[in-house]
Symmetry: none
Subunit: 224 residues, 4 copies
DNA sequence: GATGAATGAGGGTTCATTCAT
DNA sequence: AATGAATGAACCCTCATTCAT
């Protein structure tokens, strides 16, 4: 039994190694240029092993995407939970999440947007996560509005906010013509206008540890 | 000479056919699954002919993207020029452009966002056009603000507006959980808030012909 | 009738242009890299025209080879006929022929040696011309030997001489490590040894015009 | 380790199979008509495997040529080392080498002469080996001349001898109008004349085993 | 007679996948 | 569990040839 457990751990470790290698390869070579070869080279494991752990390449890509989204989600939770502030502050920091770190894997998401139309599972995952995020944001908007006795179309407000985040993120990745700080400033401005808050009260960077957080899907450190 | 002219016209027609077929193929099969085969099938022409008109597949993809962006740009000009209204109205309708028609090719752009990282020319074109758009929008924002004696950070405002557009567009394409009208309403709301205008004064749909406009890059009608 | 004649001349001129362009292309791009395209570019005529004058590419290559061999043969005759000397002198200069000019097309022959095994007609032509040369040389050897009252195996002598020529030519083309003058010196030495002649009596270069001679297959001047 | 060694041996065996199949294909179809298809058919292995063992087709062709030249070189060494005779005898048999066996691959060399102008590495190998051969021959000529107190231009003599060999070989391959024995007789005659030796003293065929010799590059037996 | 648009077979190469070891 | 040799389909591209103009 000890051995079986050990084996399972090893197996899981192997799976993770392959998943992380996949993300690295996607990041380095792009989507179409990521092959079984580049992935196995990145992992230091053999090509054949991939078939051992994953049904096929698509499966691996899907699982890798799930892994990446898991990390994003865990970071989101971490930021929201760690932040000591009221509804409004939590709302602000929760939408700032994409602009509070630079993992080096941001660009990769664009490839998955494209791949989503070839891999239905990826599209499903995307819509699921994005939908949950928007619902979550909409609830926070409702709470902050109720707190202030404000009336607003929370559905449209949530769409506005989440898509402003998405648009800022997309432009930041694609154009590299403005900074993450610009993004946070823009988001704070919009939120403060909506909720009649004073921007000065909310520092652009939350006072929490942004580098360490609990996640079952750690991303490798990239230094190039 | 008549003949030469005729021949050249024919040639141009063939080029266009191949370009449009490429866009159709990209739309239907996505980037990675669009091959010389799918394109030639879509066009009804032979595989070899593609090499006759384009240096290689990448060249064709780049030219096709240029063609598509040309159409988008021409539609943008059409909307802005046709609209009879002041600075503010023109600003509103110019950012509403992506939500004033549904060509069926919107999803294709996502594939090009991904392809941009493999084809530097595509990235260059993207950044060039997006940059020019944002500059254009920033000028309009300045003009509208000046008109009203308002002071604002036009750079951040332009980023906010263009990226709100991009984000709304991205979510609309990827999630299909809200409408183009939602998008226009959101944009109108943000603009009216910034410029203290009354939304009721600006109908969501401009009173112009949205289906016919001059362009050297017409898109085919899609019905599936 | 005048017109018909004119037309025919024009046709023949076109054929020649294409043939010469073929030789130029073979020289410049080598055998495998010479395509209908490179040939038509070299000739300044259209691709389609080649099919008008030649059955197919192989036909053109064969005719071009015939053309080249014709030129070589005509130069051979020119040298032999122009030289004012006895049997021995004529023999010497006739075998020196390959080393009395540098047309720039020598290397091309190597490609035809290879092509001969794919194009039976080329092999036939090669064997025919080489056979006639050797017979011719053998006759001259016989005559020179008879003149001097020498007895020798003229068959083996002819093989020796013609193949020494071929070998010198091949090495000169392939290795570029010795000169045409070396070749003529070697041939003179061998001949003088066989016929007890004094090399000093026979200058390495015959006193004739080596650049102008009658031929139906003129080669273009190469200057690169 | 046993397995690794076994695997490596297997790999090397596959490489050799592909190389030999390449030589066979070149022999049968010539240079231009030898394709990945003909080679894989000749080997009985799949097309894809070639890319597994060789960088590309050119690489395979170059390696195959190297292999063939290795065999030729090893046979040369074998003949020279096995022959029990003085400087002169060794010289005679060393130049007779091309006419002491018929592997069935002679014609193939003509294709490589042509290919050399497309594949610089092949030209380099050719010039290297031919250069070394001539130097070797020149040394033997010097030694034999010194032995007899003869004075001669050893450079020209070496060129004469090696190119007589090449020319005889070329004519033998291309024309098939004389025999290998003719060639050996011609070479013996020339050598004996130069060194005042009696041909009768040197049998045309050396008294050694011509079919078995050590080589890392064995050629297959051809029977068609 | 002359053109070059159009074809499609076949070229080399890549790559996900299988499978014997 | 792990390897990498082996496969073959599909990729992009080249090219000789055909044919409408």
């Amino acid at each position: 039994m000890r051995r079986a457990t050990k084996m399972r751990e090893t197996s899981e470790a192997r799976r993770s190694e392959l998943i992380v290698a996949t993300l690295k390869s996607l990041r380095k070579h792009g989507y179409i240029n990521s092959t079984i070869n580049t992935i196995s080279e990145e992992s230091g494991l053999s090509r054949g092993l991939i078939s051992h752990y994953f049904a096929n390449k698509d499966d691996l890509l899907i699982v890798a995407h799930k892994y990446y989204l898991q990390n994003v989600d865990d970071f989101f939770r971490h930021v929201v939970w760690s932040t000591k502030s009221g509804h409004f502050g939590k709302l602000f920091y929760s939408v700032s999440v994409p602009f509070l770190r630079d993992t080096g894997f941001e660009q990769m998401l664009v490839h998955y947007f494209s791949a989503a139309w070839m891999l239905p599972e990826v599209l499903r995952m995307h819509r699921d996560l994005w939908g949950r995020y928007r619902t979550n944001i909409q609830h926070r908007i409702s709470a902050a509005a109720r707190e202030r006795g404000l009336v607003m179309d929370t559905r449209l407000a949530a769409i506005t906010l989440t898509q402003l985040v998405d648009g800022l993120w997309l432009g930041w990745v694609m154009e590299e013509s403005y900074t993450q700080e610009d993004c946070r400033m823009i988001l704070r401005k919009w939120l403060c206008e909506q909720f009649h808050e004073d921007p000065e009260m909310y520092p652009l960077t939350p006072d929490i540890d942004l580098t360490h957080f609990e996640t079952a899907a750690p991303l490798p450190h990239i230094d190039d």
